[in-house]
Symmetry: C2
Subunit: 188 residues, 2 copies
DNA sequence: CTCTTACTAGACCGGTCTGTATAATAACCG
DNA sequence: CGGTTATTATACAGACCGGTCTAGTAAGAG
């Protein structure tokens, strides 16, 4: 039986947008419905698991998009330093454009939806996939200990987003891009 | 007029503990009162600014403690590499001991209390102070570009806490300690 | 003892939260 | 046409939210 409306998808995207801005507990389902002009009656039809399922699926969606986008950043630049610069640069632009309101769709939920196990698991899975992509590219460039390096890459980018958003200043993202560069050169 | 009870201080500590565990919106004031065995009637006597003031002051308190502790880590170790290892090691132990429940008292609130301006400002101030301490020590060790390096230090530690907590594994904190070390040696 | 001030008890407000009813509508299938 | 399934409308339950209010207790000052 094929789906006949796009309500489910629109719900997911509206929710993802609100979650990354206001966090898990800071976002109400009524808010999601209102913001997206969505039919309230169908919320628990499409997501019988309630808010937790909604958030978990939103994280899954965002995670896949981030992975694809990071992968593209690495393939479209000659080396890892360029990829890092592209990634932090894009994040900085996006952050500033939103008035420093929208955070990372995964990191934000990872912080305050830790008690909702399905959401936590979805975030962990997204981070794992993201880490795998970065590690693969670092290894391809012949960098030493790509596993720990990829983890540090992720942590620094995630932390820099946090700092930049909180301080309403893209400086942390830019600082990470420059300070981390030496680790991403072959001769380090 | 001197204070006659320690209620205010106990409220602050209970709130800080709950906030770093469940986040800003995930923590209710009734919960704070119940958890700490605190007099509900006096909540708005001590904190007329309500939840926002409570959270902002809790962040201030935690921020000062973190600063002092980081400063000690740097003075008690011969070089920056040792300090980073001590810091991440302690954080990993503390995190694991709490069953991966308690996050950074500043970072957690910075994520999901961004709309509560006083709380956001308190977090920004705490990060600023923390950054100042680290930058000072890195400069003292003669490291180049201590400002950006300190920012990266902070971002990586904060991000690693996020990852470790979410994945219920101290590996990210340990990975950051090893991968970031080359940047903290004089001959880098 | 009296008075002032610091503090607490605990009920209560309107509002919002997630989640659940029941029933209506709308499309496809035979 | 009838029947099945997909989807939505709407009202509401029950709990909890942050915050306010009034009344009162108790400790120090004079």
């Amino acid at each position: 039986m094929p789906r006949r409306t796009d309500t489910r998808d629109r719900t997911l995207r509206t929710a993802a947008e609100l979650f990354r801005t206001h966090g898990y507990h800071g976002t109400g389902l009524n808010q999601v419905v209102a913001e997206g002009g969505l039919p309230k009656g169908s919320l628990y039809f499409h997501f019988p698991g309630g808010k937790e399922q909604l958030a978990a699926e939103a994280v899954g969606l965002a995670g896949a998009e981030v992975c694809a986008w990071v992968d593209r950043a690495f393939t479209e630049t000659p080396d890892a330093v360029g990829a890092l610069a592209a990634i932090t640069g894009f994040l900085a632009d996006e952050l500033a454009a939103s008035g420093f309101r929208r955070g990372c769709p995964i990191g934000t939920l990872a912080q305050d939806a830790g008690d909702a196990e399905p959401v936590r698991a979805a975030c962990a899975e997204a981070f794992r996939a993201w880490h795998g992509v970065v590690r693969g590219h670092l290894a391809r460039h012949g960098l030493p200990d790509p596993d720990a390096l990829a983890t540090t890459f992720l942590a620094a980018v995630e932390g820099a987003q946090l700092l930049s958003r909180n301080q309403r200043d893209t400086a942390p993202l830019r600082a990470v891009a420059t300070a981390l560069a030496p680790l991403l050169r072959k001769d380090s």
